[in-house]
Point group: C2
Chain length 226, copies 2
Amino acid sequence: MKINKQSLEEQAADYLRQQILAGAFVSGDKLTESTLAKDLELSRTTVRMALNTLASEGLVSQKPYAGWSVTTLSGHDIWEIYHLRVALESQAAMMAAETINDEKAKRLRDELAAFQAICKRKDVSLAEVTLCDFKLHKLIIELSESDRLARMYKSVINQLSIYIRITHFDFDIESSADTHIDLINAICAGEPEKARRLAIENISTFTEMGQKLKIEQDHTSDFAAS
Amino acid sequence: MKINKQSLEEQAADYLRQQILAGAFVSGDKLTESTLAKDLELSRTTVRMALNTLASEGLVSQKPYAGWSVTTLSGHDIWEIYHLRVALESQAAMMAAETINDEKAKRLRDELAAFQAICKRKDVSLAEVTLCDFKLHKLIIELSESDRLARMYKSVINQLSIYIRITHFDFDIESSADTHIDLINAICAGEPEKARRLAIENISTFTEMGQKLKIEQDHTSDFAAS
DNA sequence: TGGTCGGCATTGTCCGACAATAGGCACTCG
DNA sequence: CGAGTGCCTATTGTCGGACAATGCCGACCA
């Protein structure tokens, strides 16, 4: 038996977030309260509150009396988001290194090992590699043991994925996991400053490539889910 | 003539935020929708949305069907907030250093000079010093030119001031401004890495003292206002 | 003592209504 | 032809009331 403890508003927010991240609504699309209310079979009030939630996460924007729309990001917005990601992820790497213990280290190494195993397969798809990469970064955030940081990070990543539907591309898949080895080692060794530096480097190369190519990504809901 | 373009919800949120930061409601106080609605002469719906906004900022918490209350922060929460402040403020210092120009440098130096002037006065109050200190930090954030970062920073600071009603205490007021000199110089000189390091040091000493003493602070509304 | 059962306060959700506003269209006037 | 003007429509902003769902607390009972 499974009972649903989430409020309707929460469910609506989750659903809409997922739809946006999955690309069912794309940047600039207009969302009207009454239409959504009919589609979701909810009252306008509830839908409205869900939209408010998404707005606070930066996924949708509203113009007074004009309507809601999926956020459109300018170049400057992307710049902001990139720098925020650097700030949060490097901080998380530091904190993870500071609070490292055997159990955490094991989780990190296991995740990295899985990542490497995936990369070695010949028939591996980009999607799978991407998923592993995401999971690893997400794990580092989790190991920082800061819910607030995790929340902010998720918001940043979600905003980013409205704009870019990529993470990895046609560069060497095999070495994809390996670029994380040093970072994971630094964290496990309890070297905060080194971990911080490597985390920044890792994101930098990632983003640099992101500027060149944009590819559809088919599992954007990963971050929004939890 | 001055017309009010803000929605009622926004005004309610601003008002409540100010009340919380000013100490009219303290940590743990219960807020009931219908009571607030009567007090503010608004509908429950509107109040509810305002509370939702504050919740997304971390100022109030809600337990389903039980009620809203001003957030109570645990030791771990404070730890999270401290680390977030470090991450955001050091990043802002870096970004300010990276994008420094004559006009920005002038603003920084002017603010610092004002700070120093205040500290030199014999009859200066702690409140005034605190205000200057806040303004300087706020300026650095602003100079990073990232609205998202500013928003997150404000949220972090607001949460912090629910718990701690202090910024400065009975340590040497005269040298208070001077501890910022190196940081400002690094930013103006366009040295991101140095600026980052000094920003972290600055916050660390600040927080360290914050753990010892807690003093009422009488201008908490500064950050929430803008 | 410990568990159960109501009652009360408060939130969660809905509906319907109406005012306020933005955005687009047609119209006028030069 | 172009610019400004005024109207119409779609949509949001706000409201009040209503009722169900739930958490809390105290009373009662074994």
